[in-house]
């Protein structure tokens, strides 16, 4: 029996279900992009992280990260060329919700209901909120780089 997959860590899943090509009538069988593949594309091409840093954020090895990323890119290309629908679904992941800070009442809060977009402070209802930078996470990446 093969070794079980390591559970990939991710911060926020997409808050929509997928994409549909414009101008095509029929919905042929969709391309299913896993949450881990979505996260791989987000880290590498949206946050512009290197694969080493991105793999640490997802808590997998660098070669595994590359495999996930490659599979994600191939699925996106398939959907583009063949005009297929993209659906975000499944994947072996666990969620690590991020922290937000409210500039009005000064509290910190997290947001576990990932499929809804965060809009206001959980305590005072103010919309003056900002994502809180996780220093410990950034520090641990810096430390890991020093060690290697």
């Amino acid at each position: 029996m093969s070794r079980p997959k390591r559970i990939r860590k991710m911060t926020n899943p997409p808050h929509f279900k997928g994409f549909r090509p414009i101008g095509l009538q029929e919905e042929n069988n969709p391309v299913v992009i896993n949450y881990e593949e979505y996260e791989a594309i987000r880290l590498c091409d949206f946050e512009l992280l290197g694969q080493v840093d991105a793999s640490k954020l997802m808590d997998v090895s660098r070669p595994t990260y590359t495999r996930i990323y490659e599979s994600a890119r191939r699925k996106v290309a398939q959907a583009f060329v063949l005009g297929k629908t993209i659906v975000f679904e499944g994947g072996k992941v666990y969620f690590d919700s991020e922290w937000y800070a409210c500039n009005y009442c000064g509290c910190w809060f997290n947001h576990p209901a990932k499929d809804e977009e965060i809009q206001k402070c959980g305590l005072c209802g103010s919309t003056d909120i900002a994502q809180y930078e996780d220093e410990t996470l950034t520090n641990s990446i810096v430390n890991n780089n020093c060690n290697t």
């Binding site: 666990y94 969620f95 690590d96 919700s97 009442c105 000064g106 509290c107 910190w108 809060f109 997290n110 947001h111 576990p112 209901a113 959980g122 305590l123 005072c124 209802g125 103010s126």
Partner: protein, 105 residues
């Protein structure tokens, strides 16, 4: 929606307890009925595992938000999977009444 607030005492004028798992009382405030309930924390003197046990206690009451001064390392993964929001207040001088007023926004 029910919101739990950690408290040092069992009156509305008590201050926020800055620790979650080993606070003295949990105040469960219901936004629909504006009622409050004071629950003494049975895990206050626990050597270990007070945080997860407290989460279980208040999750059974259908709480969706927890307000406290700080949370232990075991709490966040549990509340993430239970879809409970954590709110950290760094100002320990606020009373339960003041926090409930803020929640009414």
């Amino acid at each position: 929606m029910k919101i739990a607030i950690t408290s040092v005492g069992n009156s509305p004028n008590s201050k926020l307890d800055s620790r979650f798992g080993r606070c003295s009382y949990f105040v469960v405030y219901d936004t629909e009925t504006s009622s409050t309930e004071y629950i003494p924390n049975p895990y206050k003197e626990n050597v270990e595992g007070a945080g997860p046990a407290s989460v279980e206690l208040i999750a059974k009451r259908g709480v969706k938000k927890i307000v406290s001064g700080e949370f232990g390392t075991k709490v966040k993964s549990l509340t993430d999977s239970l879809q409970i929001q954590l709110i950290i207040l760094k100002n320990p001088e606020q009373s339960i009444n003041e926090i409930i007023e803020m929640l009414k926004h």
